[in-house]
Symmetry: C2
Subunit: 252 residues, 2 copies
């Protein structure tokens, strides 16, 4: 049974793309067949793998326009790790599908023909609550919310959970898998203040694994590789390896 | 002559809201009459001043709907520092004005009746390139782009400058004032790599002042105050004070 995750938060810069890239890489390394979907017009996930969004022959927008041929948009990036890229044209999708009855389930239709080829699919959402986030949630059955340990990101969670509830009306199987604390810095009191608030409010939903603030994560994107490839012993790489195990165990 | 700035970047989490709040606070402290405009449905700028977006009687959405009464949406937050708040309803503005001929200049019309009351107006944009960013650029005459010293944020600048050029067709007075390096960490090589690339490519457009990574900036938002109020001697507070001087000098 393929597990499809939406990685979402309307708060910008909380680590959505980094989580999709690095969790995806670790899951593939652990032997799972993984598909990543870049669902942000910024196409950071595509450039994070060293690809040029402008040269992608087919993208997630094409897959949404012609869902039955979505496999044409799949690019192999590593062993057992594929990507459906995005480019800036994706920004036009919201208006393009505005009158389509199935506007909110276009991505779901695009993933259906290819889902069986994978054990895990991770969708990287943009920093907004509209069309793209709704489509990502409608296509997924599980949700991971990266939570930067800062006040604005923490405040954003409630609003996001309201949208999740609304999407559950059209996608009843959709469930929260976990909240991942990111940019975690044990030395500062803000981190522990937000962590305490999150664990108190969301309990077991918050993953045990925290993603530390670690410049290697950002540096790796310059080379178009995952942090595990960039520096396997880094705090960032070890955290994503642990998160991969925790995510798999939560589904067992 | 009122200086109206759009503080924009489609990359999430680069420090747009923090810059508007803290630069605004420093400009007011230096004696300028300042208006801040929260133009992001997330309403982080509104909560950054300790206000509850849900209780705002009138918001920037009301001001866009009835531009002649925009002064009704103005809230005083500090001496010589006012705010036009936002709340989540703003997310509906894009569709609400979709067929309005003046959809791209609604914010400009809302600011016109009140501009003369201020020396500086700062508009905080959301992390996207669509309706809100276009409106912010159409309403402004100057642009500040916060540039987090990370690869994704650096890559976003070119795309943003393309949008700026397009908006200059409907707003010929619109000019770039500067690019502010944010989350700057002198100790790591990624910071200097991005700084070198930015100064080489954009030259004098990049402010001399850099905004260091400084947890006090994030902590201050918990208390609903500026970093200058939270800890005047912090690296963050001093940087915003210096940036305020540099912004004023650039307009002299
Ligand atoms: N654990 C980490 N430590 C240090 N830097 C990180 C970490 N995770 C991500 N980053 C960096 O922080 C920035 C924001 O992360 P990222 O782009 O993944 O967030 P996002 O939520 O996808 O942003 P957006 O809202 O723009 O899509 C990036 O430059 C990234 O390289
Ligand atoms: N110089 C800094 N040092 C440390 N933290 C900072 C700094 N500037 C901003 N922050 C924190 O980083 C996070 C991102 O900043 P901010 O919210 O201002 O960015 P933004 O570009 O407005 O984000 P969005 O794209 O979601 O609107 C916030 O939690 C903020 O408190
Ligand atoms: Mg992203
Ligand atoms: Mg903001």
């Amino acid at each position: 049974m393929t597990r499809i995750f939406a990685v979402v938060s309307q708060k910008g810069g909380v680590g959505k793309t980094s989580l999709v890239q690095n969790l995806g890489a670790e899951l593939a390394r652990a032997g799972h067949r993984v598909l990543l979907v870049d669902f942000d017009p910024q196409s950071n996930l595509t450039t994070g793998w060293g690809l040029d969004p402008g040269t992608a022959a087919r993208t997630v927008y094409d897959a949404m326009s012609a869902p039955r041929e979505s496999s044409d948009a799949i690019l192999p990036v590593r062993r057992q790790l594929d990507l459906i890229p995005a480019n800036l044209d994706l920004a036009g999708a919201e208006l393009a599908f505005i009158n389509a009855i199935d506007r909110n389930t276009r991505l779901r239709k695009a993933l259906q023909p290819v889902a069986d080829m994978y054990d895990v699919i991770l969708v990287d959402g943009p920093p907004s609550l509209g069309f793209f986030t709704v489509n990502a949630l409608a296509a997924a059955e599980e949700i991971i919310i990266p939570l930067q340990v800062h006040p604005y990101a923490y405040k954003a969670v409630d609003q996001l959970l309201t949208i999740v509830q609304q999407v559950q009306e059209i996608n009843p199987r959709l469930q929260m898998t976990g909240i991942a604390l990111t940019m975690y810095d044990r030395r500062n009191s803000l981190t522990t203040a937000i962590e305490d608030a999150a664990r108190q409010r969301f309990g077991k939903l918050v993953f045990e694994t925290v993603i530390p603030i670690n410049v290697r994560v950002a540096e790796a994107t310059l080379d178009g590789i995952s942090v595990g490839e960039y520096e396997p012993d880094s705090a960032g790489a070890r955290a994503y390896e642990a998160l991969a195990k925790e995510v798999i165990n939560r589904g067992a």
